[in-house]
């Protein structure tokens, strides 16, 4: 199981700041942050601590199994973001 950032994300990076395993991107220092549509959680690195859930000012973060129906596909979107180079090819 992992946590997933869904569509309401506004790219306030409180989640990046609080994540103990640095599994959320793009962070504010990363290239691409200024044009980011949202932030994403790497399910491979996520340790399910849930710290980001409370830190998010717009409550955009869900446990994968609790994603509302309209945002179910954000589990894949979050996962794909971290493989975007191979996904694009």
């Amino acid at each position: 199981m992992t946590f997933v950032i869904a569509a309401p994300c506004v790219a306030d990076y409180s989640c990046v700041d609080i994540c103990p395993v640095n599994c959320i991107g793009p962070g504010p220092e990363e290239q691409g942050f200024d044009d980011a549509e949202q932030l994403y959680i790497d399910p491979v690195k996520c340790v399910d601590c849930g710290a980001c859930v409370d830190a998010c000012p717009v409550l955009a973060i869900y446990e994968e199994a609790s994603l509302p129906d309209r945002w179910k596909h954000y589990a894949k979107v979050n996962r794909d973001y971290f493989h975007r180079d191979s996904v694009t090819a």
């Binding site: 309401p8 409180s14 504010p28």
Partner: protein
């Protein structure tokens, strides 16, 4: 550093993120006066974010409100810097001033007929349905069966969604009652969203595009350009957009439904009409790569007229000159170096007026961090000489935190009775009356 006294101008996300960072890093006794032209804080979170995006507005309650309640912050609403107090007076009264005034204007199409009644800036309609007091005198005629939105960014899709969403869904939001009445009587069956380039260059973000697929009773169609055969070479985000658009357009259409038609590779040429809008002449484009490899639209010479009585231009916002400060007319920003205004000693900018109209709410957090870091580095360490602040210059009718809270509570109370997040007070005088009313006396318990 100790003794820091700062003025922040503008209580939108840019200003609130600057305040949040100042509270954390500006020293234990920092004092921040927050000047806001309106009686209400939160800027575009209140008057820009779409009413059917309540989750995005949580940023005010879950983040900005904590800063506003901090004892080191003083809210000074209904005070217009540049009019009530000059920039020169303000900057002389504080160690530093941060302007977070956003973008007050928008890009024009610069085509004939643009000023005909029925052709509006997107921001006017957005501000109208979101209850911005300066836009309530406007009237939008929704009696045409088709509306055309020029531009296909997130603001364009917000408007398309609001025009097509069933009224009973909008009635559960904090959209204004007057907008709700207008939309309930709307005859609009089709919204054309015009983009001068192709689907791969569309300006909207993925979440906003996906959302169109969730509106009940709305078909999505694509015209003007075939979907690209291959997404090879596209960025990951673009590939997602192309796949989603193809998916939405392939859903079976229902003639009883409303329709959002994406019209790509088309530029507006002329607003057609004599007394008011009755059409938009558009010209077809083909894409050609320029020297840098970017795809530019080139007119093919073919044109046509789309019949419509209502046109919104949504091709970008733009900053306006601020009295007493320099202005770069080309970019619509106040020229600055990492946030410090060029040619000024203690004046800073953050948000759209600093970097141009790009990014989403949280993009302003990084932007504010850079500005405040620069400000703190400029002021150095040690204790600062005391400064008076501009209290002596303040106009009489100003709104403090308690005043805003009276408006806020009243709006939420009215909302609760109707199962809505709030019912906005949209009249400036009504806002002031409510904010300045004496608190209700607590009746004695017997």
């Amino acid at each position: 550093m100790t003794g820091l006294r700062i003025a922040v101008v503008g209580a939108g996300p840019a200003g609130m993120y600057a305040i949040g960072y100042l509270l954390d890093h500006g020293g234990p006794d920092v004092v921040i006066d927050l000047y806001e032209r309106l009686a209400t804080p939160w800027g575009l979170v209140r008057s820009g974010v779409a009413p059917d995006h309540p989750e995005k507005k949580l940023v005010a309650d879950r983040l900005f409100d904590f800063s506003l309640h901090d004892s080191r912050v003083r809210f000074l609403g209904n005070v217009e810097i540049g009019t009530d107090i000059s920039h020169a007076d303000l900057s002389a009264s504080y160690h530093a001033v941060i302007y977070a005034v956003g973008a007050g204007d928008d890009l024009k199409m610069n085509i004939p007929g643009e000023d005909l009644p029925g052709c509006f800036a997107a921001r006017s309609f957005v501000a109208f349905y979101n209850g911005h007091p300066d836009y309530q005198h406007l009237d939008f005629d929704l009696s045409s069966e088709r509306a055309v939105i020029v531009g296909n960014g997130n603001v364009a899709l917000d408007i398309a969604r609001i025009l097509c969403t069933p009224i009973e869904e909008l009635a559960r939001t904090d959209i204004t009652d007057r907008a709700l009445e207008k939309l309930a009587a709307s005859a609009i069956r089709e919204v054309v969203v015009l983009g001068r380039r192709g689907p791969a260059e569309a300006a909207y973000n993925n979440p906003e595009l996906e959302e169109l697929g969730h509106i009940p009773g709305v078909d999505i169609a694509v015209g003007g350009a075939a979907m690209p055969d291959s997404t090879k070479g596209c960025s990951w985000e673009t590939k997602r957009k192309l796949e989603m658009l193809a998916h939405l357009a392939a859903r079976p259409a229902n003639p009883a439904n409303k329709r959002i038609l994406f019209r790509f590779l088309a530029s507006p040429l002329e607003v057609v009409g004599t007394d008011s809008v009755n059409g938009l002449k558009i010209g077809e484009n083909a894409l050609q790569a320029d020297a840098s490899g970017a795809l530019r639209p080139l007119p093919t010479g073919r044109d046509e007229i789309i019949g419509t009585g209502l046109i919104f231009r949504a091709i970008g916002y733009r900053g306006t000159p601020f009295p007493g400060l320099p202005f770069d007319d080309r970019s619509g920003t106040i020229p600055n170096d990492a946030g410090r205004v060029l040619g000024e000693t203690n004046t800073y900018v953050t948000g759209w007026i600093k970097r141009g109209c790009r990014g989403i709410i949280g993009t302003n957090r990084r932007c504010a961090q850079q500005t405040v870091d620069r400000l703190l580095a400029d002021l150095g360490t040690g204790s600062l000489p005391p400064l008076p602040g501009a209290a002596a210059l303040l106009p009489g009718k100003r709104i403090d935190l308690a005043g805003w809270k009276r408006i806020d509570r009243h709006e939420r109370d009215m909302g609760r009775r109707q199962n809505r997040p709030r019912v906005k007070i949209v009249d400036r005088e009504a806002q002031l009356g409510l904010a300045m009313s004496e608190p209700a006396t607590v009746e004695a318990c017997t």
